[in-house]
């Protein structure tokens, strides 16, 4: 699915159910706009090939 085909309404409905979050009419337009924007921005990250061994590597010191 490309960013252009992204169905923000469907994502909002499913994710709100998963999160047990009620989205009010006032919140809905803004949340949909931000979902679509993040989907578009994230594409650049998702498209970038990384080898499996490239890991974030959190470090925990004594």
């Amino acid at each position: 699915m490309s960013a252009e085909e992204f169905d923000a309404e469907a994502v909002l409905a499913g994710a709100a159910a998963m999160l047990d979050l009620t989205i009010t009419a006032e919140q809905r337009p803004g949340v949909l706009m931000h979902l679509a924007n993040t989907r578009r921005v994230a594409q650049a990250v998702l498209d970038f090939p990384l080898p499996p061994e490239t890991e974030n590597g959190p470090v925990f010191r004594s």
């Binding site: 919140q27 650049a44 990250v45 970038f48 990384l50």
Partner: protein
């Protein structure tokens, strides 16, 4: 000229020499805040009685013949996400001001008090630091001292305004994606975002654990270095804070930029902004005798990954509160936090893995160069309330695009000194002086050289140049 329009170093020297008392400096600062703050809305809390007590203690120390510390009697203030004993840590929010008052100061405040500095209060900020404008739905916008119809930049807006207006010579802020460097640029002052993990974030309200930094603002590089030195050192309360000891930089400033390999960031950092953003970089490069350009690889992707990580971590932090108190958030913040909770975990992990890749590439870049110059913001301070801007003939949303040049840098925690240039246009604009990890000294040495050359200056707004 009021002593408050000078530097912190000047105030401390005068107090230490007995030329002025810390009490007198504090009263002058309180009066200036009383007169100026109603127009600029930088302070949200003024801790007058506490300040008077701290100043009296400094004066008593001097009277007793003991050392009052390197910042003796210097007024400072902090973004209101820092714990100040006795105040709720509001972090720019309506919700947090219902919290019980902080039981103790954060360690950076304690360290500055220990160096003799006097805390004047808490400063306005964008709600929960998810902001580049300095506007606040609950407390009203911080206003730019150089033009109060314009933004200070955010989210450390009150910090930028208070220092630029001469209310205090030093302020503390936080920078997750640019929240020190953006107000430094818009308000025309110096700012330091140290390496991620250099200064403890203990006793401050978080936003994005992966990127949150604390750091200082000042009107001179020497002041910036002094306050930074006074705040260094580990703290057990922040797992990300280095256990290394203090690495003072103030004494190194005089070494200047001699021998340093300096380059201008090309490509991504040379497009997408107003001409003034690049003129400022070019002016710095010329003063430093720099003609070399380097490419920061995949900077646009770094910004995108920073955006995703910020959205998800911020949302995760606030999810429970959003569930019960959604209407008490600024809607501009709330809707981004709700949206961020819906982003797939796999996207977040990919962004974090890309961060490791980008860090490795940047270390390669730093094999051949010591310091990189880049714009701090693509534009000068926009008008308050402005929602869009036109760049290159394209209209775009203002808020998310203010940070295009700062986000790729804080993404991997590189230290940056933001240096201000005045006189290129009606409003000042900043340049990022970017150094390798843990080399704040290099960024500050170059910043100091630019200041000594008269290229980077931070005059008090409205004061004679």
């Amino acid at each position: 000229m009021s002593i408050l329009e000078g530097t912190a170093a000047g105030i401390a020297a005068a107090v230490r020499a007995g030329d002025v008392t810390a009490a007198a400096v504090t009263e002058a600062a309180l009066l200036r805040i009383e007169r100026t703050n109603p127009h600029l809305n930088a302070f949200t809390d003024v801790t007058a009685e506490r300040a008077r007590a701290e100043a009296a203690a400094v004066d008593a120390t001097i009277a007793a013949g003991r050392d009052p510390g390197p910042l003796a009697g210097v007024p400072f203030a902090v973004k209101n996400l820092f714990d100040i004993a006795g105040l709720p840590t509001r972090a720019g929010s309506k919700i947090n001001r219902e919290r019980p008052p902080a039981a103790a100061d954060g360690p950076l405040i304690r360290r500055l008090n220990g160096a003799g500095a006097v805390l004047l209060g808490g400063l306005n900020m964008g709600e929960y630091a998810y902001d580049f404008t300095g506007e606040n739905a609950h407390d009203g916008p911080a206003r730019n001292p150089h033009d109060p119809t314009r933004m200070t930049g955010g989210s450390s807006g009150g910090s930028g305004g208070a220092v630029a207006a001469g209310m205090v010579p030093l302020a503390l802020g936080s920078d997750t994606n640019g929240s020190i460097r953006v107000p430094s640029s818009f308000c025309g002052i110096f700012g330091l975002k140290p390496t991620y993990g250099r200064l403890p974030r203990t006793g401050s309200f978080p936003f994005v654990d992966s990127f949150d930094h604390l750091g200082p603002f000042a009107r001179s590089v020497a002041d910036l270095a002094s306050v930074y030195d006074a705040m260094q050192g580990p703290d057990a309360g922040d797992a990300a804070c280095t256990a290394w000891g203090v690495e003072p930089v103030a004494a190194d400033l005089a070494r200047g930029a001699d021998g340093l390999r300096i380059a201008v960031a090309g490509g991504y950092f040379r497009r997408g902004g107003e001409a003034q953003a690049y003129e400022a970089v070019d002016r710095c490069a010329e003063a430093l005798g720099v003609s070399r350009e380097v490419e920061i690889p995949e900077a646009a992707r770094a910004r995108a990954a920073a955006f995703v990580i910020s959205n998800v971590e911020g949302a995760a932090l606030h999810l429970d509160t959003v569930r019960t108190r959604a209407d008490d958030y600024d809607p501009e913040v709330r809707d981004r936090l709700i949206s961020g909770a819906m982003i797939p975990g796999a996207w977040y992990v990919k962004a974090q893995r890309f961060r490791r890749w980008f860090h490795a590439r940047m270390l390669e870049v730093f094999r051949d160069v010591d310091v990189i110059l880049a714009p701090a913001t693509p534009v000068t301070a926009p008008k308050l309330g402005q929602k869009t801007m036109v760049l290159g003939g394209v209209e775009m949303l203002l808020r998310p695009n203010i940070g295009i040049y700062t986000q790729p840098i804080s993404f991997i925690g590189l230290p940056v000194a933001a240096v201000p240039l005045h006189g290129l246009g009606a409003m000042p604009i900043g340049v990022q002086v970017i150094a390798p990890p843990w080399r704040e000294d290099l960024a500050l040495r170059v910043a100091h050289t630019l200041e000594a050359a008269g290229v980077a200056t931070a005059p008090v707004a409205g004061a004679a140049p």
